[in-house]
């Protein structure tokens, strides 16, 4: 447990020293802020309503839903270096010959990126402050939205971490991670609205963004809770097994 925290601390510090992490963080914040002020309607099709628009209701829902969608790309970018860089630079050799277990390494890395992600989320509260200056945001929705973002982040970052254990090339880790998340977030979303019964119901059960919607509405749905937690646990488990497989491959 202690060593997990030692590893997590180093990992988190590495994010704060890394220019790449700042760029990814900036893109995440810029994307969230863009939706907050302008909404998103490519080719005139409104996907996200602007949150801060005069005359409309000041609902936080589009903001959270946009942040969740951005995470499909941001999560693999944040996690790409976790294991891939260790493989690439050879530091995995010194790491794995120290008295640490594979479980400690994976959990340490996961907690490290969760720490950086939590800091990133905390900085988006600035948008709430802006909103509070003009209207009365719903505190309940804000709280459940952030809980949802943490849970969704845990699941997405675990998927990204798993992708990173597969390869020494960070770019490959990103592509694999985005592909996996796209299936569960974007593709299932699409199938849910375009397929007939019973396929649309099955797709809905697998759609991460659909689960997230309940948090963005201000409710805490235990099904969503279970979905995100088990997804995180599954992919952490797979990461540990992939790392272990190095020993018998």
């Amino acid at each position: 447990m202690l060593k997990t925290l030692v590893l997590a601390r180093r990992e988190m510090a590495a994010y704060f020293f890394s220019p790449v992490a700042y760029v990814i963080g900036a893109l995440f914040l810029a994307g969230s802020a863009a939706v907050f002020f302008f909404g998103l309607s490519p080719l005139g099709i409104p996907i996200f309503e602007p949150v801060l628009a005069s005359g409309s209701t000041a609902s936080l829902r589009p903001l959270f839903e946009a942040m969740a969608a951005i995470m499909v790309f941001a999560a693999p970018l944040l996690t790409m270096r976790l294991m891939s860089e260790e493989f690439r630079s050879g530091t995995i050799e010194t790491l794995m010959t120290a008295p640490v277990t594979d479980v400690q390494v994976v959990l340490g890395k996961f907690l490290g990126v969760m720490g950086f992600y939590a800091a990133l989320l905390a900085s988006t509260t600035v948008l709430l402050a802006v909103m509070a200056a003009y209207s009365k945001p719903d505190i309940g929705v804000a709280i459940s939205g952030y809980i949802g973002m943490l849970l969704l982040g845990a699941a997405f970052l675990a998927v990204g971490l798993f992708a990173s254990t597969l390869t020494e090339y960070q770019i490959v880790a990103v592509i694999v991670g985005v592909a996996m998340l796209s299936v569960f977030a974007l593709l299932m979303q699409f199938l849910m609205t375009h397929l007939g019964e019973p396929w649309n119901l099955i797709a809905g059960r697998l759609s991460a963004l659909d689960y997230f919607r309940s948090f963005a509405r201000g409710t805490i749905d235990t099904r969503a809770l279970a979905f995100f937690l088990t997804t995180a646990a599954l992919f952490l488990f797979l990461s540990i097994k992939t790392l272990e497989s190095r020993r018998w491959r």
Binding site: F17, E93, T97, P99
Partner: protein, 325 residues
């Protein structure tokens, strides 16, 4: 201290290490020699629990590397060949981080870091400990790597090519340091620079083509290259055949080869024991009235031996890739 039995490692269809067995005593400095691609690094990676063996057993300080991996890792300090470090960290932070991973209690970490920094010449210049690791030169990175393996005072140190990339002054101080470490630590260092290994190591293990080619002290290996004893003499006074016959008559001479060098005859005399045949050859020449121009004992270097056996191994190198059944 270290026991390797029938160690074999396949990388897919490539046989990297083929049935190697050896034993290393506590407190010795062992040189691990071999040409590039001989299987040195692979063997060291198995010893340090980084890679699993395909078959065979390895025990370090009484613990099996596979079933008691954590116990082995606690007692071993391993510096890989490339000295990988986290570039964004500072020297002190890195050493503190590694000290924490090495189970050093937090109250003692600072003292441990100071101790190894002093020992590995990192305490000067003043700001060295605050520098970023990716800004350091190769030599300083190497020192940080060495400092790191000394942090927890491990019983066994495994250094893969510790002097590669260092300047001559640094190579010398690295050697001195390794020598100092003997006694309280068991040190295994790999190298393909023979002169260096001959100087610091009390034992040598030579592997080539994945096989154990030879093991022993440098003196023992030197002896093997020359055979028990070899004397070169150049004589004049009779034709080659007769000279060879006369020399062969000396007690203790096993074999004589002769070649003509102008009107002198060059004789390579192999004896059967450790005995020095020079005095006997000189006495024979004086008695028979032959002129003697040169008389010396051939002392082989480990290098000769190394070249000799690795050459043999290279001839068989084709056998290392399995043919698909």
């Amino acid at each position: 201290m270290i026991d390797v039995k029938n160690l074999t490692k396949w990388y897919g269809p490539v046989l990297a290490v083929d049935n190697i067995s050896f034993h290393i005593e506590k407190g010795t400095i062992v040189g691990f020699l071999g040409p590039n691609g001989a299987g040195k690094s692979t063997t060291l990676k198995i010893l340090t629990c980084y890679l699993p063996a395909t078959s065979g057993t390895v025990t370090v300080a009484g613990c099996d590397v596979l079933s008691q991996s954590l116990a082995v890792r606690r007692q071993v300090g391993y510096m890989p060949e490339s000295v990988p470090l986290y570039g964004e960290m500072r020297v002190r932070d890195y050493l503190m981080f590694r000290a924490a991973l090495r189970d050093i209690p937090s109250a003692k970490r600072k003292a441990a870091v100071e101790r190894v920094a002093e020992r590995c010449w990192l305490s000067k210049p003043e700001d060295m400990m605050r520098r970023r690791l990716d800004e350091l030169s190769r030599g300083y990175k190497q020192r940080v790597g060495l400092a790191e393996v000394l942090l927890h005072n491990p019983a066994v140190l495994v250094l893969d090519e510790p002097t590669i990339g260092l300047d001559p002054a640094q190579v010398r101080s690295m050697r001195e340091l390794v020598k100092e470490l003997a006694g309280e630590h068991t040190v295994i260092l790999s190298s393909h620079i023979l002169a260096e290994v001959e100087q610091i190591c009390s034992h040598l293990i030579i592997i080539a083509g994945g096989h154990l080619a030879a093991a022993g002290t440098p003196a023992q290996l030197r002896q093997r290259v020359t055979g028990p004893s070899k004397v070169i003499a150049e004589l004049r006074g009779a034709d080659g055949e007769d000279l060879a016959k006369a020399v062969k008559a000396i007690k203790g001479v096993r074999e004589v080869e002769h070649t003509a060098h102008g009107n002198w005859t060059r004789l390579v005399i192999a004896g059967d024991s450790d005995a020095d045949l020079r005095a006997d050859v000189a006495a024979m020449a004086a008695e028979a009235g032959y002129a003697l121009r040169e008389l010396r004992r051939e002392v082989g270097s480990v290098e000769d031996y190394f070249v000799q056996i690795t050459y043999q191994q290279n001839m068989q190198a084709g056998n290392r890739v399995a043919t698909p059944a």
